[in-house]
Subunit: 132 residues, 2 copies
DNA sequence: TCAATTGCGTAATGCTATAACGTGTGCGAT
DNA sequence: ATCGCACACGTTATAGCATTACGCAATTGA
């Protein structure tokens, strides 16, 4: 799924996330866009839904937040499962991919005949700076 | 962290989860315990907090639900990271552990000097039965 | 005895997400 | 051309998840 031209709302939401240098909740995004005419959560959620679909934004399940994909131009969906390390102190997020992990998880699902649709890997803790 | 004697509320919540054969949300648990005098979400959340701490219950971040640990008597916290496969059709959850995955993620965090506190691995999809 | 800890109960609130309705616009098929 | 469809959008209301703040009671241990 590649990203077509974004609509106005999608572009606004994306821009806010891009500038944020950290994950944002839908309601935080909403607040940042009130000046641009946003009035309801649904406007944000609808835009996010598409951005997630296009693979340019990721959702962090463990903190109910959203973050731009670390791979600006490539299609993130082709990298296999995305993993995140989330600093609980500064909020910074590192995105990475590990094919060996993917492979192990795929082996397991295959063994169980489980049809995986979406895999979440999120490590919460402290980044180097904050742990020091 | 091993589980001491559970308090009344903790035992009630645990029992409900144990009988459930699938993950339950905190509010579902609350509803099931109204007859036993539960009246507020906090009663459930407080019990869950302890049960999570004792390692006898897990939280599924991606579906905001809770499930009993698949290892009745051992201390789950000693198995390394827990992974879950969650069927989006029937709601059934399989818990598993993969040391190789743990190892790969630990390698990554060590390389980044990231101090991991809690790792979430959740695979959503369809179980063998539901996929057929 | 006093202070600290822990569990509990209640009320209120806050945060996250979706349902249900209707509007307008672009576009292809007839 | 116009009808039907898909899609984005706007608004209101509601559902679902989680925590804050307050106070009380029992337990423990200095």
């Amino acid at each position: 799924m590649n990203a077509p031209q974004l609509t106005k709302n999608q572009a606004l939401v994306f821009e806010v996330l891009e500038k944020a240098d950290g994950p944002l909740s839908a309601y935080t995004i909403l607040d940042k866009l009130r000046d641009h005419g946003f009035r309801a959560p649904l406007q944000v959620y609808r835009a996010l839904e598409k951005l997630l679909e296009y693979g340019v934004v990721h959702r962090l399940e463990s903190i109910n937040s959203f973050v731009v994909c670390a791979h600006p131009n490539e299609n993130c969906h082709s990298h296999g499962t995305v993993a995140f390390a989330i600093c609980e102190s500064c909020g910074h997020v590192m995105e990475f991919h590990d094919h060996e992990v993917d492979h192990r998880l795929m082996d397991w699902t295959r063994g169980k005949k489980f049809k995986a649709e979406k895999t979440t890997i999120e490590i919460r803790g402290l980044c180097e700076t904050c742990a020091a």
